[in-house]
């Protein structure tokens, strides 16, 4: 079929305009020359409004996540890679193997097409690494001032292997609590890249897809992993409080065992933040049978995304559902739910 467009999309200096969301030829061209070109896969190339595929036997998992991060590009990633990793991770935290992604774009009139292409290329590369093609999507354009460049919603589906039963309500007293690496990197990287916060750091976002790490863990101890959670907004403290509440248990963690980079600690001291509440985008918390903890720790440490993994505490019986921490100073304190918004638009 001949090229239906008179000239190709001006990626170099063009901008998103309202016609790119209007359902006409301009939108079709944007989809063809940007989204399909880079996301390229058989299902997307069929150009249907949906992707049709055969589901393997087992239990299906679905998860969705909206991404509104500011700035769009930051050290260690961009909104595109974040949107893929965020949903891949949410699906993976059930122990599932993620299969496919869908992506919805809300573009603001005036967004440079070059920026959009950079984001789309980043999404395509991230999806390829995670083995989760983006097979369907949607594009809308809002007037200038009604968005902030681009918002991306991604939805993912995956399959949970037989014998795996992972859920936030399954933590039991005596279980071990593990974290896959240093906490707070993403939040500090974003803060450092905001223009109104003038400090420099070498810290980059930890944004990463955790599905291969989870696959290794599930293969090693399929029946011993009870809970998985990626501690994103609200950080480690919030993830632990969520799990404690869902499971009706308490937790005690040891401050000296929690991996935190010294640059993150220093940035948090300056800004008056507690690294326990600072966001992560490539870390997971695992609650497992204490007997399997050392084995899982070894498996995690063999994976590049788990090389700094640590056992940080244990689950206890506690009617209050408190997460407590033995401090490096020798005291004990509550690690409470966060209050309000520490930093808006972190993911």
């Amino acid at each position: 079929m001949p090229n239906p467009y008179t000239s190709s999309l001006n990626i170099k200096s063009g901008k998103v305009d309202l016609s790119h969301g209007g359902g006409g030829r301009a939108m079709a061209q944007l989809i063809d020359e940007l989204f399909i070109k880079h996301f390229d896969n058989d299902l997307l190339r069929q150009r249907n409004d949906q992707a049709l595929f055969t589901v393997p036997a087992g239990r299906l998992v679905i998860s969705t996540d909206g991404h509104v991060i500011s700035p769009l590009f930051f050290p260690g990633g961009d909104i595109g890679s974040l949107a893929v990793n965020g949903t891949v991770n949410d699906v993976s935290m059930s122990g599932a193997k993620p299969l496919y992604l869908a992506a919805g774009f809300i573009l603001e009139e005036g967004l440079p097409l070059a920026d959009l292409e950079k984001i789309v290329i980043s999404m395509a590369a991230t999806a390829k690494r995670a083995g989760t093609p983006i097979v369907t999507g949607d594009t809308k354009v809002v007037e200038r001032g009604k968005g902030d460049g681009v918002f991306i919603t991604t939805t993912g589906v995956g399959i949970v292997p037989e014998g795996v039963n992972i859920s936030g309500n399954l933590a039991k007293p005596g279980c071990a609590i593990l974290v896959s690496g240093s906490i707070g990197d993403h939040g500090v990287a974003i803060m450092a890249s905001r223009e109104n916060l003038q400090f420099q750091t070498t810290i980059v976002s930890d944004s990463a897809a955790l599905n291969w790490l989870v696959a290794d863990m599930v293969a090693a101890a399929p029946a011993e992993i009870y809970c998985l959670r990626d501690p994103t907004r609200g950080g480690l403290a919030t993830a632990l409080n969520e799990l404690a509440q869902q499971s009706g248990v308490g937790m005690v963690i040891d401050e000296t065992q929690i991996p935190i980079k010294s640059e993150v600690k220093a940035a948090c001291e300056i800004l008056g933040l507690d690294p326990l509440y600072v966001a992560n985008e490539g870390k997971l918390v695992c609650i497992c049978n204490a007997k399997a903890a050392e084995c899982l720790l070894a498996v995690m440490r063999q994976h590049p995304l788990g090389k700094d993994a640590a056992i940080i505490g244990e689950v206890i019986a506690d009617g209050h559902g408190f997460v407590q921490m033995t401090t490096a100073f020798g005291g004990r304190r509550i690690v409470d739910w966060p209050v309000g918004e520490q930093l808006p638009r972190i993911c």
Binding site: N196, G272, F329, V339
Partner: protein
């Protein structure tokens, strides 16, 4: 982390704990007021109370800038942004402080008021530069620690002829508050003070000498790290046991007797004393706050706009005023944890992380529950 972790070492804490236990007179009760919210925060966050003998009691002081700001001043700020269409720039911890009629800056912002959170005075200046057709008001609060940066911002605005930059000045003075606590009609029983940390880097240790002398209260200028607090407690106990009442400086790595003369000169150049100012909990205190000098009137929001004084009460049952005077403790308040939580604060002490109620609720209530359980 260099210069931080040294002051949080567990083995040294244990040694200090033992030294304090040996130093205290078992027949005596020691009531020590930690003046600053920074101290209160450290005491709760690191569990310093757990390392103290039972007869050493901390009385939480008024040194939390958000906590002592009266409700009427928040109401003023909300009126300013709603009636005069200014951009109001504020530090984040003021956003959730309850104003009158269940309002707050956060709620006013949600209702459309142009309120922007900033991290420094430089952020407010930038907003003023970026919005030349709008009036930009910086909601300045704090003790002597945050006053010099406000002075710098005003001087910068003057140098740049940034005529749309204004300051709503609420800066207050530490020695005046200390005097008000000591001169209160029904004074709270306090044996000694842990003196301000960051404030003293600016004003020095000299301004406290009159209190040590006239009121015979030992004062130790104490850093904000937990070992600083413990070392200072030991110094206070030794003074009390020996019948001394002096100003001693534990925080000698940052505080001198004279303080930061350059910062003091800056403040004196830009600000002058208000005859009196209302403090939450302490009432009207003479010569306790600053306003812009007449020569900087162009940058004074209170002179540019009509801002009548607003008398506003606290929520019924809220014990913030008594807690700020040291007369009550957070756990004495009936609202604590029932209707007043960090998510839904009824009083300012539950808002700021330096507030006694927030510190108690976030870190300290575990201790109380454990004690009830045993």
């Amino acid at each position: 982390m260099k210069y931080i972790s040294e002051f949080r070492q567990q083995d040294l804490a244990q040694k200090l704990s033992n030294a304090i236990a040996q130093a205290v007179d078992p027949d005596r009760h020691y009531r020590l007021m930690e003046f600053c919210g920074g101290h209160t925060h450290a005491i709760f966050r690191y569990g310093v109370q757990d390392l103290m003998p039972d007869n050493v009691e901390f009385i939480h002081g008024p040194g939390c800038p958000v906590c002592v700001l009266p409700t009427g001043r928040i109401d003023n700020a909300i009126q300013l942004v709603e009636r005069h269409d200014v951009i109001l720039c504020t530090y984040a911890d003021l956003m959730r402080v309850p104003a009158s009629a269940r309002n707050s800056l956060l709620k006013a912002k949600a209702n459309g008021a142009d309120i922007q959170m900033i991290y420094s005075t430089q952020g407010a200046l930038k907003i003023a530069r970026d919005n030349p057709d709008r009036q930009v008001v910086f909601f300045a609060i704090g003790f002597e620690t945050t006053t010099p940066p406000t002075a710098v911002a005003i001087k910068q605005a003057q140098a740049e002829q940034l005529t749309n930059f204004l300051v709503f000045c609420n800066h207050v003075l530490t020695p005046a508050a200390m005097q008000a606590i000591l001169d209160a009609p029904q004074p709270v029983a306090i044996d000694a003070f842990l003196g301000p940390s960051h404030v003293s880097t600016v004003i020095g240790s000299q301004p406290y000498e009159i209190f040590a002398e006239r009121y015979t209260k030992p004062i130790v200028i104490a850093g904000f790290e937990p070992l600083d607090v413990m070392q200072s407690v030991l110094m206070l106990i030794r003074q009390l046991n020996e019948g001394r009442h002096e100003v001693e400086n534990e925080y000698s790595r940052a505080v001198t007797r004279q303080g930061n003369l350059k910062a003091q000169a800056l403040m004196q150049g830009v600000f002058e004393l208000r005859p009196q100012f209302e403090w939450r909990g302490l009432g009207l205190i003479p010569n306790s706050a600053l306003k812009l000098k007449a020569s900087y009137a162009d940058f004074d929001a209170e002179q540019r706009f009509d801002m009548p004084a607003i008398q506003a009460g606290d929520v019924k049952g809220c014990e913030c005023p008594a807690i700020l005077r040291g007369a009550k403790k957070p756990q004495d308040c009936k609202l604590l944890g029932t209707v007043c939580t960090p998510e839904n604060p009824m009083g300012s002490c539950m808002v700021s992380s330096e507030g006694a109620c927030a510190a108690y609720w976030s870190y300290g209530r575990l201790r109380a529950l454990t004690q009830i359980a045993t």
